[in-house]
């Protein structure tokens, strides 16, 4: 992990967050920068990236005031824009190379994900800016949060962003466990018991089996956020691998932790230099209570079955770790997270901070749960694991597919192990097809057309694979059929069969 390898990573990707309400007077431009990766890039280069971004946001507003710049495609780079909060922009610059065939929407979803997670833990960036107008607070938080987030993408010395090989995945969606009727009833009664433990206070729960969602009473947006975090850091796989899980398969799991450390070690001092040199907000001068929810290997399972971490600090007197908290998007309420794990089962309970009397209250609640619900949890886990078919549970032989229910933020796809059997050509072609569908979807969003897009595309590619995209009533189906018959009718029939059997006929024609 020398300087050279660090440079590789910086060559491949840049990510910045900037605030267009800051630094608008000449000479103060640096003030706009809230985050820049890689931090050791010369300030002039950082400023030029942000200058171009700001320039194009302004320029495109001439013609498209409602939806300014979304992407710049240049010969060697793509610049992906995301306006995370009013006037707070995130821009990712990726280099185009042979393996780097991106789908812009997939990259934008990465930006969206890191931002929504950030808000879940720290509140909005704007609020942090307002709280400390020097910018120090927001910079510190963004720096550690995004660096921890990016470390999940590092493979060896490089950041591996979602590319064409992830064409049959949809970031920012939930993967559900299909459960039988009886199991569902048991889960339901478990949830009821858990809620009763909290007494009168309104609490939320999210039940997962392995990396799959079983049940929740959270709003869809909060569900996606918490689910994403759980898969990243809380589920048994996340705990054992530190970072990776099969549903977010990443190669070279073992490399993750080491390279993460290296990344932070290498860029840490550089960042401090930067923050000092920009003099707007020396990182170390302030003593912010720093919480790094995405830090690796910080969660562990306690003897009582509850997951613990000292990310949120420890009680000064008792040295008991402080209970983690998040903000709910829906209700804008601050909640304690209590996560209980038994084998494959993870139950996350959210209790309003306002309704619990500090750490003591939490301890009491834990006790209650252990007494009243632990047995039920054992039973539920047993039932679910009996019914579960393992990693390849949702494999449909002959098909490679992705099914997305946009209204409910749910997706299901062929297992990653099966997707890797597809040829590069098929995956690239699918990636391009999805790009095209993305733009068609984008247009119907722009039109505010109340009727949802209905679309069917079947392509016989050069390599004889069939690529299929179907949109109907907010549901999407993408499919690759390799080694299949030449005729269009064959391909249509294959989709029809799939639709009948696995989608309740959602994509059937009649």
């Amino acid at each position: 992990m020398g300087v050279a390898s660090e440079k590789d990573a910086s060559e491949a990707m840049k990510l910045c967050v900037f605030d267009l309400r800051r630094g608008q007077t000449e000479g103060q431009e640096l003030d706009k920068i809230l985050f820049f990766y890689p931090a050791d890039l010369p300030l002039s280069t950082q400023l030029s990236v942000i200058g171009l971004s700001e320039g194009l946001v302004t320029f495109t507003r001439i013609f498209s005031p409602e939806a300014p710049c979304e992407v710049i495609e240049a010969e060697r780079h793509s610049h992906v824009f995301y306006e995370a909060e009013p006037d707070i922009w995130m821009v990712m610059v990726v280099e185009k190379e042979s393996e780097a065939i991106w789908r812009v929407d997939a990259l934008r979803r990465v930006l969206k994900e890191v931002h929504t997670l950030f808000v879940m833990f720290h509140g909005s960036a704007r609020a942090l800016v307002d709280r400390d107008p020097s910018g120090g607070l927001v910079r510190t938080h963004l720096y550690y949060f995004i660096m921890d987030f990016l470390s999940d993408f590092s493979i060896g010395t490089k950041l591996q962003l979602p590319n064409f090989r992830d064409s049959l995945k949809e970031r920012g969606t939930l993967q559900m466990l299909t459960v039988g009727r009886e199991a569902a009833i048991e889960v339901q009664s478990l949830v009821a018991v858990l809620e009763s433990c909290a007494g009168d206070t309104l609490c939320y729960s999210l039940t997962m089996f392995q990396d799959l969602l079983v049940s929740t009473n959270l709003s869809p947006i909060d569900t996606v956020n918490l689910f994403t975090y759980a898969v990243l850091r809380l589920t048994p796989l996340a705990l054992s691998h530190g970072a990776s899980s099969w549903s977010h398969s990443r190669k070279a799991d073992t490399a993750c932790n080491t390279s993460t450390g290296a990344l932070l070690l290498n860029s840490g001092p550089a960042a401090e230099q930067y923050y000092n040199s920009s003099d707007a907000s020396p990182l170390l001068r302030h003593n912010y209570p720093l919480v790094r929810p995405l830090q690796h290997s910080k969660w562990s399972k306690g003897k009582d079955g509850f997951l613990t971490t000292d990310i949120w600090g420890r009680d000064v007197n008792s040295l008991v770790p402080t209970c983690p908290t998040i903000w709910l998007r829906q209700t804008e309420e601050k909640m304690y997270i209590l996560a209980y794990q038994h084998r494959g089962l993870t139950v996350i309970l959210l209790i309003p901070v306002s309704s619990v009397s500090g750490e003591q209250g939490i301890a009491m609640l834990k006790q209650q749960i252990l007494e009243n619900a632990s047995l039920k949890m054992l039973k539920v886990e047993e039932r679910l694991s009996r019914g579960w078919g393992g990693e390849n549970a949702y494999h449909v032989s002959g098909y490679r597919y992705l099914l997305v229910d946009g209204d409910r933020y749910i997706s299901r796809a062929s297992p990653p192990g099966k997707v890797t059997t597809l040829t590069k050509d098929s995956l690239v072609a699918l990636s391009k097809l999805r790009e095209e569908v993305d733009s068609i979807k984008g247009r119907s969003v722009c039109d505010n057309s109340c009727h949802e897009k209905d679309l069917e595309i079947s392509i016989r590619a050069k390599n004889n694979a069939w690529l299929i995209a179907r949109l109907t009533r907010g549901k999407e189906l993408y499919m690759v059929l390799e080694k299949s018959n030449e005729t269009l009718l064959y391909a249509s029939e294959a989709v029809e069969k799939f639709s009948e059997r696995y989608c309740n006929g959602a994509f059937s024609l009649d």
């Binding site: 013609f63 498209s64 939806a67 979304e70 595309i457 590619a461 269009l488």
Partner: protein, 647 residues
């Protein structure tokens, strides 16, 4: 200026390696031979070289709009250009070395040039300075009365008239207009050419809301052309575009596309010329980029690529003057980008004609092509009746498109026989050819292209011979009849193939039976709105570089529907021909408007449109029948044996 015109420095247009020193068509071989040792020239000489070619260039431009100008106007023009020459002599920048380097880079283009052309090119360019002028003005004097005050461009006629919005292709307000008669060929003819909304600039709300902008600017940010608004008022905006391009360039990259909501900003850099399209028309990037390429090609057709030297000499060179009066050419090209499939298929279409009729036309063109004519084209509007190239020379479909657009949009060609320098960008972007153009009637015109600048009278004689034959064999009459009959009507698919008249004596199997004639309807095979309702198709023959598009019929009646279908074809074409992974083999696409079926083979491409509820199996059957039908009548709808783009 005239003092320079007889010296040889304009030879800088041609690649010295390609020149045949033995050519007797070169009037001053010795001087040229000296000049061929370019790098040995003293540096001071080279600016003259450049200036010469520039003057030649400017003169070409002047001569384009020459034909209807009075002699006094000519004199004025000359004075102006002389001033320009003097001025430019004072600021020589480019050394000869860099010049020949650039020419060397163009070598590949020159390779395609015929040998006699190589020999003549230098002489032609050199002489063009004066002789083209002479020719055109002589033509004027001889052939027609002068009409002072008109520069000959359609665009200058009433371009500011208030009612032109209804013809604005990319705006919505024309889209309610229904075409009464669906068999009217080319209903887009009602479109008015010329500059639109010249009073607007980037501060106007209306300007910002235009659906599709095109800009040409120089690398220093000077506006050259804008589809909407006054170029001069758009100087600030133009500078912004330039700043974006150069900012990215400074970072070692090149900007291609910016996307914002429904808007796309597409950039194309061609040396010192920048082209930009800002559009919310939902066309794919590849299509918009192709359109900018065509726009650039159109500019090259008027100026040749040697216009780059103007910028080498003076980066702040203002090119608007060079393109003065050509608004109509660009606006008509931009208009065709929204209806003419040739613009994205890169293929040309032929006017349907009986085989014998086309043969007759081809024979006489062939006859003429031997004697100093590089290409002979007989065209009806934008469709080819016949075309012939001299030995080995071949014509790219894009060149045909740009040439016919140039001729049809320039009013002067209609009113008199003309002899005008033009450049075929795909053939040789560095050099001018000379086009003799004559309209036989309002739609049908002849183009004879030559490398020789003094061939006017020879070509005039050739034209008379051609006209003679065309009249005798009634080709022109057949052309008019074809215009009325139209091309392939999908209703004709109703006819059972076996019962279709084998001899094809009537036009493409016409007279057509009514919709409710027996056969088709009984089959339940094709019917408007039926389960396999074929609405339209385009068939492109790969080897012939030609395509045929069926006539629009119900329910694709209105211009709005036709344009929407055109855009759908454009999208599926781009989707099928992805640069990295394409071409795909088959594509079936159903949305709320259509079913589109596309089939690409090494021989042909078929794009067919059906009712959105069409049944797949039936649609496939219909496609097979369409292909068979096209094969059955290929003698009549295609120009066979011309293969203009294969060498």
């Amino acid at each position: 200026m005239s003092s320079n015109s007889n010296s040889s420095p304009a030879s800088s247009f041609s690649d010295k390696d390609d020149r045949d020193p033995n050519s007797d068509s070169n009037p001053e071989p010795e001087t040229l031979a000296e000049l061929e040792t370019g790098p040995e020239l003293e540096p001071n000489a080279s600016p003259d070289l450049i200036d010469q070619s520039l003057d030649a260039l400017e003169n070409q431009l002047a001569s384009i709009s020459m034909s209807s100008r009075s002699p006094t106007a000519l004199d004025d023009e000359e004075e102006l250009q002389e001033e320009e020459t003097e001025q430019s002599l004072e600021e020589p920048i480019i050394r000869n070395g860099s010049l020949s380097e650039e020419i060397g880079a163009e070598g590949s283009i020159n390779e395609h040039v015929e040998s006699n052309w190589k020999a003549e090119s230098s002489g032609v360019i050199k002489e063009s300075v004066s002789s083209v002028w002479r020719n055109t003005s002589e033509v004027d004097e001889v052939e027609r009365p002068l009409s002072p005050g008109s520069s000959g461009y359609a665009g200058e006629r009433g371009s500011t008239s208030g009612g032109d919005e209804i013809n604005d292709d990319d705006e919505d307000n024309n889209e309610v207009r229904e075409v009464q008669n669906d068999s009217v060929p080319g209903s887009h003819d009602q479109w008015v050419s010329g500059k639109r909304h010249p009073d607007e600039d980037d501060a106007s709300v209306s300007w910002r809301k235009r659906k599709k902008h095109f800009f040409i600017l120089s690398h220093s940010g000077k506006p050259i052309y804008s589809r909407y608004g006054d170029e001069h008022k758009l100087a600030g905006f133009s500078a912004t575009l330039q700043a974006i391009i150069s900012f990215v360039e400074n970072g070692g990259d090149r900007v291609k596309l910016v996307r914002a909501g429904k808007h796309q900003v597409v950039f194309l850099v061609k040396g010192p010329i920048y082209l930009v399209c800002i559009s919310c028309t939902e066309e794919p990037y590849e299509s918009l980029k192709g359109q900018l390429e065509l726009l650039y090609g159109q500019m090259i057709l008027i100026l040749t690529k040697s216009v780059n030297r103007c910028f080498e000499r003076n980066p702040k060179f203002d090119m608007t003057s060079l393109l003065g009066g050509t608004d109509a050419v660009f606006s008509s090209l931009i208009h065709s980008l929204s209806w003419n499939p040739a613009t994205f298929l890169h293929a040309y279409s032929c006017l349907p004609l009986a085989y014998a009729t086309r043969q007759a036309a081809g024979a006489i063109l062939q006859d003429v092509a031997g004697s100093g004519v590089l290409f002979a084209l007989l065209m009806c509007k934008h469709k080819v009746i016949s075309l012939v190239g001299a030995q080995k020379a071949s014509l790219h479909p894009d060149d045909i498109l740009l040439l016919s657009n140039f001729i049809m949009s320039s009013e002067s060609f209609r009113t008199s026989e003309s002899f005008s320098p033009i450049c075929l960008p795909r053939y040789n972007p560095m050099a001018f050819l000379y086009a003799y153009v004559h309209y036989f009637d309002i739609d049908t015109y002849l183009i004879l292209l030559t490398t020789s600048s003094d061939a006017f009278y020879h070509l005039k004689d050739s034209r008379i011979r051609i006209e003679d034959v065309l009249l005798k064999s009634n080709v022109l009459g057949e052309v008019q009849r074809s215009l009325i009959d139209g091309g392939m009507h999908i209703e004709d698919l109703l006819i059972d193939p076996t019962s279709r008249p084998g001899a094809m004596s009537s036009h493409l199997g016409q007279p057509r039976p009514g919709i409710n004639s027996s056969g088709g309807v009984a089959n339940g095979f094709v019917g408007v709105g039926g389960p396999a309702g074929l609405w339209h198709f385009i068939y492109r023959s790969i080897y012939l570089d030609q395509y045929v598009s069926s006539e629009f019929s119900s329910p694709i009646n209105s211009l709005r529907q036709q344009k929407r279908l055109y855009r759908a074809y454009q999208r599926i074409y781009a989707s099928m021909h992805d640069k990295g992974i394409g071409p795909h083999k088959t594509q079936f696409r159903r949305d709320e408007n259509y079913v589109l079926l596309c089939w690409v083979t090494p021989d042909f491409e078929l794009y067919a449109t059906f009712d959105p509820l069409a049944d797949k199996a039936l649609a496939i059957k219909v496609c097979n029948r369409v292909c068979q039908w096209v094969k059955d009548v290929e003698n009549e709808i295609f120009l066979l044996g011309a293969s203009p783009f294969s060498w």
